[in-house]
Amino acid sequence: MALFSIFVFIPAIASFFLSFTRYNALSAPAWVGMGNYVQIFSKDPRFWKALANTALYVMVVVPVGISISLLLAVAIDRKVRFKNFYKAVFFMPAATSAVAVAVIWKWLFAGEKYGLINYWLLKIGIAPVDWLMSPTWTLPAIMIMSIWAGLGYNMILLLAGLQAIPQTYYEAADIDGAGAWHKFWKITLPLLRPTLIFAVIMSVINSFQLFEQVYIMTGGAGEGVGGALDSALSLVAYLYERGFQRFEMGYASAIAYTLFGIILITTLANMKVIRAKFEY
């Protein structure tokens, strides 16, 4: 407990106070009151850019990722052969470090002709794009990678939920002559609701914390992070830049607390919306 309070609880409070100061980790923190927050919200276009990027990322990655995962979970829940093999293959990225995943995908997305993805795009008649150099395509590239990496985890989670649904409901529906589509909407989805809520909320929280992928794919040690024109700058990447590359630790703390607030509000809103939508 002592360990815990030293390394989690006290830092969280310290961070809260730091967020009201100007602090460079060398001289003593100087109190600036709400200064950092005023700066963030009214005079910092890069913060807004990072927020917009991150929000867009969350809004694409979570619904697309969860939908594909659900489709896969429903498919694997049928009586298929090699079930464990499929589960293992889909789950691999969850056991791989985000850094390794990003390095591999950086290579797949390589801009010139030897990049595998561009080569295949060219083969099916789509002009290749310079994924990680162009302001338009960097964020989508990161989204595609993240969806790929998250599928297995969400699939296993949803599969556990599916398997908890009693078979008798489906048998009853069969007797009533319900079709597969009908059964999915009227039985599977409502009964999967708790698992689905959990998966969505966890995905949203994780997605807001996007960092490694951006750090690896758009920058390197010492360089700026965030890609051309900040097109893939995420909130945490911005926090890292201000706190640990420019050593503006008070300002970075304020960004951290803003992120915390955003995550908290989104999570609560999510719970409300999902609960209302699935009420039956």
Partner: protein, 282 residues
Amino acid sequence: MEISADKIRRQAVTFAVYALLSIGALAMAIPYIWMVVTSIKPIGEIQAYPPSFLVRHPTLQPYRQLFSLLPMARYLLNSLLVAAIVTLANVFFCSLAGYAFAKHKFFGRDKIFLLLLCTMMIPYQVNLIPGFIIMKTFGWLNTFFALIIPNMAMAFGVFLCRQYITSIPDDLLDAARIDGCGEFAIYRLVILPLIKPVLAVLAIFTFLSQWNSFVWPLVVIHTSAMRTVPLALSVLNSQFGFGADFAMVMAGTTVVTLPVLFVFIFFQKYFIKGIALTGLKG
């Protein structure tokens, strides 16, 4: 007539399911295959057009280059050491704290537990900066202490253990007490054997999350010798992550990724059970 139409439909669905899963599995596997293939390509073939999965002259040169340019063995050892110690510490502290929270009444127990749960909702970024300052104050930057000690007891582990220990009947503990067991003996002889499955899950996920951990080491480690494996990959990526040297970068990624994947396949049962049980992510 009707039966056969139904049968055809069912076969079509089965076909669609297998097609979906196979295409999906292929999409999952290709990046890994491409990684390994690239890592054994000689310089001339890396940027060859068209890119090919067949390697005409496979070579281990990228691996040799990797191990001679960077102290990879040291990095692997660093990561292994940190992950192993943190895992053991978590198994011990979390189960001990979980036992205390589940079976002992002490002042403010439930409030402290609630506080613990609340901290799980704080994103790690909030603690990054003060954590860094604490490490700096202690003089622990660039040491194993910084990598190990702050991670030795995770809230989630305590929570997980407490939930399991709560379900152990009190009668069992009382019986042990009557037999003359002290509190620590009860923990060791009664509690630990009973919560083995959940400890296995906790151990695997802790090990994995430490092995793959990036942001915290990035912040507290700045010297080359102390780097963990993800940091090494990141440096490799920023220094050599272009063009022809990518074979070496992929060799590094392979060295880091494949052992974990083998371990994962070996423990797959626990992983999947762990997720189903807890929703915990590595």
